[in-house]
């Protein structure tokens, strides 16, 4: 037993020895970035997002690289320093890592989370620690619909927008959909997306029947059986919110068996596989990018063109590939953080803002991002809405590039529920308060 006590003492000593916190400095702003660096979401979301983030941080630190109002260096003159942590490993690990970032590494803000379960697990801890946190990517509406948090903000619209946008697009472009089917990954993202899509379709295409709803295992890789089932059912449209390797594998196998020739494919989040698939992606797929991101932003024009081009050109130059949705969302998160920091510093006389001051500044904020005007309009000023767009794939044989054509842009308030209303109720009641020009 003496031995035991000695071992425990040693462990405790080790733990305390390691605990010397990094001293907070006033001329740098330290952010903890959490995103997928391994696993399946790394290639589609995590790595492109962090590539975009790193690029933006470098450009901001240098200063003057972005059009106004983002031309001032850093965050309010402070140099930005980032620590990046891998999001793979589940919500349990992320809660622990979050505490470590805040308490051990003493970061000034945390920006992260692609996975919805992480986005649900982290906010209560962020509030407990009073740590300013930005959720930059994840989709589930539950974060601010089921709870409210003081220190947590989501700078991207939740996933209901993606599927409402998709259904509205089909309607406004006159697609005839008398029946449809779904193929979605069997976890919360796929299940929720399918529920949102069927909810929106029930309003816009009330006569359409659901042929089948398939939920292959996440990371299944083999879709032969599902494709047979879809070929047999002959729905007019197939909805899929699949992403990453699952979406790429599904498209490869489906096109080889001619599924796209028999049925209209509609992918609610599919733009990010374009750089990989290129001409292996068939023409005529209805495609969303979870916002006016990637090719949809590039094609938009308007006042935000210089900002979008800055992201587009610098990303192309550094990484040799087009930016898809993930870097756009990282930019809108970091630019929002920059605006909040600078607003807070205007209010407090130029000191480095505290978490409270940051939260006060961020609440209800709106700012321009390459993906459009971001407004913290929901969840008491904690949840963003943003415009979205849907297009159709078309391979350009001359430039050897995939293009999106027949794009339709939707106002943020056309595809997002109004403040104080849950997305599920909004869908069930037929989009009350929607403003679509």
């Amino acid at each position: 037993m003496k031995q035991t006590i000695r071992t425990i003492c040693a462990t405790l000593a080790l733990a305390t020895g390691l605990s010397a916190p990094a001293m907070a400095q006033d001329d740098t702003f330290k952010i903890g970035v959490i995103t997928f660096l391994s696993g399946q979401a790394a290639e589609s979301f995590g790595v492109p997002a962090w590539n975009g983030g790193q690029l933006l941080i470098d450009m901001l630190n240098e200063g003057g690289k972005l059009p106004a109002p983002y031309d001032k260096p850093g965050f309010g003159g402070m140099k930005i320093e980032a620590i990046v942590v891998d999001e793979a490993g589940g919500a349990t690990k992320q809660v622990q890592e979050f505490r470590n970032l805040v308490q051990r590494e003493q970061v000034d803000a945390v920006v992260g989370y692609v996975s919805s379960s992480d986005c649900l697990a982290v906010p209560p801890v962020a509030d407990e620690l009073k740590a300013f946190t930005i959720l930059y990517d994840c989709g589930t509406p539950r974060v601010f619909e089921d709870n409210s948090f003081e220190y947590v903000f989501r700078t991207a619209a939740h996933a209901t927008m993606d599927n409402v946008g998709l259904a509205r697009y089909l309607k406004s472009r006159g697609f005839e959909v008398d029946s449809f089917a779904g193929l979605n990954q069997d976890y919360a993202w796929g299940q929720d997306s399918w529920a949102d899509f069927t909810g929106a379709m029930a309003q816009l295409y009330s006569d359409a029947t659901v042929k089948t709803a398939l939920f292959p295992k996440f990371g299944a890789g083999q879709y032969g059986t599902e494709i047979s089932a879809l070929l047999r059912e002959k729905p007019a449209l197939i909805h899929s919110s699949n992403w990453g390797g699952d979406l790429q594998s599904f498209l490869l196998q489906a096109t080889a068996r001619g599924l796209h020739k028999r049925t209209q494919l509609a992918l609610s989040a599919g733009d990010h596989v374009i750089p990989q698939l290129q001409d292996k992606m068939p023409d005529g797929i209805v495609l969303g990018a979870r916002g006016v991101n990637g090719l949809l932003a590039k094609a938009r024009g308007g006042d935000l063109q210089p900002l979008t081009d800055t992201l587009w050109d610098s990303y192309m130059e550094r990484y040799g590939v087009i930016p898809v949705q993930a870097p756009f969302r990282m930019w809108q998160g970091l630019l929002g953080l920059k605006m909040a920091v600078e607003k807070a510093m205007d209010d407090n006389g130029g000191k480095k803002p505290t978490d409270e001051e940051l939260a006060a500044a961020m609440k209800g904020l709106s700012w321009d991002a390459p993906s459009g005007r971001i407004e913290m309009a929901l969840g008491g000023g904690h949840q963003a809405i943003q415009p979205t767009a849907i297009g159709v794939t078309k391979w350009n044989n001359e430039t050897k590039m995939m293009e999106l054509v027949d794009i339709e842009y939707f106002d943020a308030r056309c595809v997002n529920p109004p403040e104080g209303m849950k997305s599920q109720d909004w869908l069930a009641q037929g989009f009350p308060g929607a403003q679509c020009d």
């Binding site: 391994s38 790595v47 398939l214 032969g224 059986t225 047979s228 047999r232 390797g245 594998s249 080889a256």
Partner: protein, 300 residues
């Protein structure tokens, strides 16, 4: 085509794939008594290597003779087996022979973790594609449905692999020696069998089959990080159902899982996630050691 025929064909295609990815696992367990989690990594390495090699093949003008890409696929699996097999078996696993089975599972789990990141260091996170071999065999029309010719090639490969493994174990001299080692390594050693060489050979064969599974799959998917983890669990289920160490067991296990999964997708899509565990739990309830388990004498 009527529903049940579709279920059968879909199930058969999936079962063929399952068999290829799990037969190596059961072989390695049968001979070395190690349940190899790193089998999933070898599968993924096989997929990456074949993607790289087929890519390179078309890069140096393979378009003129696209059929050569199939040779590149097989060659990739052989290469992986010859490099990784001895490395893992001689360099690591042999130090754990005779240790607890579950400890050995952990050893291979550690290898799995290491290889997962090692692959990322070698191939990065961006996906690799080698769709050419997938479309080369054209379409097959069955009733109103189109299948890809490649799917049936996979069935053929599975049959060839199964027969080859079974024949070489039961119809050759070396195979009989291997069976003797499986039955009693100590006795075999005293009879002059070079047991370490048999172990090495069996592990290399297992690694080849894992890598072959990856190589065969690579053309129909996007090869990227995280491939191995999904494969290992289904492969486990198949060999447990069939009985660890049994080649016919792996075939029957693959068929059971394949057909029941296809039936579930067509008839009851909600149940797809558990169907594998369901089949596994049912089988183990009635046959605690799997369908074709070898009976073991209890030592007093």
């Amino acid at each position: 085509m009527d529903l049940f025929a579709t279920i059968f064909v879909d199930g058969l295609i999936y079962a063929a794939w399952l068999f290829i990815v799990s037969v190596g696992l059961t072989l390695v367990f049968g001979v070395l008594n190690i349940l190899n989690i790193a089998h999933g990594s070898l599968y993924a390495i096989g997929a990456y290597t074949s993607a790289s090699m087929v890519g390179a093949y078309f890069g140096v003008g393979g378009d003129a003779f696209p059929w050569g890409s199939y040779v590149a696929l097989i060659a990739a699996a052989i290469l992986v087996a010859l490099v990784m097999g001895p490395l893992l078996e001689r360099g690591l696993l042999r130090f754990f022979y005779g240790r607890d089975e579950v400890l050995n599972v952990l050893v291979t789990y550690a290898v799995f973790l290491i290889l997962e990141d090692a692959m990322k260091l070698i191939w990065g996170v961006n996906p690799y594609y080698v769709y050419e071999p997938y479309t080369l065999l054209g379409d097959v029309e069955l009733g109103s449905l189109f299948y890809v010719g490649y799917d049936f090639a996979v069935i053929a490969i599975a049959i060839v692999v199964g027969l080859a493994v079974w024949m070489s174990l039961n119809r050759t001299r070396t195979g009989k020696v291997v069976l003797a080692v499986i039955h009693d390594p100590e006795m075999s050693r005293t009879m002059g069998v070079n047991v370490p060489r048999i172990y090495l050979g069996a592990f290399v064969a297992g690694a080849f089959l894992a890598a072959l599974g990856g190589a065969v799959t690579a053309p129909m998917i996007s090869v990227q990080p995280g491939l191995g983890v999904n494969v290992i669990i289904v492969a486990f289920a198949v060999v447990i159902i069939g009985g660890l160490g049994s080649i016919p067991g792996a075939a029957i296990g693959a068929l059971m899982v394949g057909i029941s999964r296809a039936a579930s997708v067509h008839l009851l899509p909600e149940a797809e996630l558990f169907i594998i565990y369901f089949v596994m739990a049912i089988v183990l309830m009635f046959r605690p050691e799997g369908l074709f388990a070898k009976t073991q004498a209890r030592k007093i």
